[in-house]
């Protein structure tokens, strides 16, 4: 896509520099919080246009964002390193609304920068998330026909595992280590159901309680990216999703070996 001139007065060099920085920050925030590549590129380019830059190009790498703006025959290019901050749809929503406000003409360079600075990530209380994810895994067990006692085992196991996972996130452990430990905890707790004969379908409880570790968002994003032509980010996300699953799988296998309960196959 090639954006035609917007009809606004041309930007001065400091203004263009500022617009470039705002575009790359916008793209970076979106990428860090789990937006798909098409959305990141689209919003960064639309923002540039809204801020009065006649043309902007965005390149996405697995670990970085590159933005170039072209104005009055001058190019400004800048790169930002991307660190994953975890999926946060609240951030994606708020950034999108800021871009829409800039497009509507409600925000200029200064206004947009001030608005971006006020956006802080939403975090639900950890106990609430743990309870809800526990309930979710109990529902997964019920969906494949487990009895209520086995569902309760899945609820406890998944709830405890989610609390462990959120605590490990807070301590900044590598996500792969986190998934390994969380899967071990979940399978160990649910395994007690199989050892002590709690519930009619302990194998379903053991399978359901680790479903909180399926990297659903990265898997879907990976295919979406590739369908829309972003093969490199798609492959990177897909590979990471497989690695996370493999970490969880190692945790499950270790727990099954320690407690001597084999249920999966």
């Amino acid at each position: 896509m090639d954006f035609a001139t917007t009809g606004k007065p041309p930007l001065t060099e400091p203004q263009q520099r500022e617009a470039t920085r705002l575009c790359v920050e916008t793209g970076l925030i979106l990428l860090q919080h789990g937006a798909e590549s098409a959305l990141v590129e689209n919003l960064a380019r639309r923002l540039a246009l809204a801020l009065g830059v006649p043309r902007a190009e965005v390149a996405l790498l697995a670990n970085a964002v590159v933005v170039t703006t072209l104005s009055e025959g001058h190019c400004i290019t800048t790169v930002r390193r991307n660190e994953d901050r975890g999926i946060n749809m609240h951030m994606v929503t708020e950034v999108q609304r800021a871009v829409l406000a800039a497009e509507a003409g409600a925000l200029d360079l200064e206004g947009y920068r001030a608005r971006l600075a006020t956006i802080k990530p939403l975090r639900y209380p950890r106990w609430l998330t743990s309870v809800m994810v526990g309930l979710s895994c109990a529902c997964f067990a019920r969906l494949v026909g487990a009895d209520w006692t086995s569902c309760a085992v899945a609820l406890v196991a998944a709830g405890v595992a989610m609390a462990v996972r959120l605590q490990l996130v807070r301590l900044h452990f590598n996500p792969l280590v986190n998934f390994f430990v969380t899967a071990f905890v979940a399978t160990s707790v649910a395994g007690q159901g199989a050892i002590h004969g709690i519930g009619d379908k302990p194998q379903v409880a053991m399978a359901s309680c680790v479903l909180l570790l399926v990297p659903g968002y990265p898997l879907i994003n990976s295919i979406s990216d590739m369908v829309k032509g972003y093969i490199n980010t798609g492959l990177a996300r897909g590979m990471y999703a497989v690695l996370l699953s493999a970490g969880a799988c190692a945790g499950i296998l270790l727990a099954m070996t320690v407690w001597k309960v084999w249920v999966w196959l």
């Binding site: 798909e36 946060n88 749809m89 999108q96 809800m132 898997l219 999966w264």
Partner: protein
């Protein structure tokens, strides 16, 4: 009658994980209701297509995901937020988590116990099922962009 009862059960049970995982993805509280509704609709529709119309599960998943995504566009335009903010959480009840883990565990078992027909067959069939369903979910979600919003953004 039995089918209808089954669909309602599936819908009720699917709405909880959709909203629960929506919280894990930090979906804003107001939007969580749309996650739950989308999850219930997607899973209920897939169940109806598989059990009622006897379609294969991948095609049913594709149709269910496309339906949720198309309705999601209308909601997204009202919310002024990208549809993926809530439609991905709505897909969570349909994610093939058990086949994915079965594949990886079967591969680990092949490494430990040596190759056997049963393990190899589990690894390949479960792995393909996981891959096809995830692809159906992602392509289904992309349907509005692929068919109607080809050169313009949804929001």
């Amino acid at each position: 009658m039995n089918l209808l009862w089954g669909i309602l059960q599936q819908m009720a049970l699917a709405s909880v994980p959709a909203a629960g995982f929506g919280m894990l993805f930090n979906v804003p509280a107001r939007v969580l209701w749309y996650c739950a509704a989308g999850g219930a609709l997607g899973r209920g529709l897939r169940f109806a297509l598989v059990e009622g119309a006897h379609l294969p599960v991948e095609w049913s998943t594709l149709l269910a995901a496309a339906t949720v995504s198309l309705l999601g566009v209308a909601v997204a335009q009202r919310l002024r937020a990208h549809p993926k903010v809530f439609t991905v959480a709505a897909m969570i009840p349909m994610i093939p988590g058990v086949p994915l883990f079965k594949t990886l565990i079967a591969i680990a078992q092949i490494q430990q116990r040596g190759l056997s027909d049963a393990l190899l067959s589990t690894a390949i069939t479960q792995g393909l099922q996981a891959l096809f369903i995830v692809a159906a979910l992602a392509v289904g979600l992309a349907v509005p962009g692929l068919l109607f919003y080809r050169r313009r953004p949804v929001v």
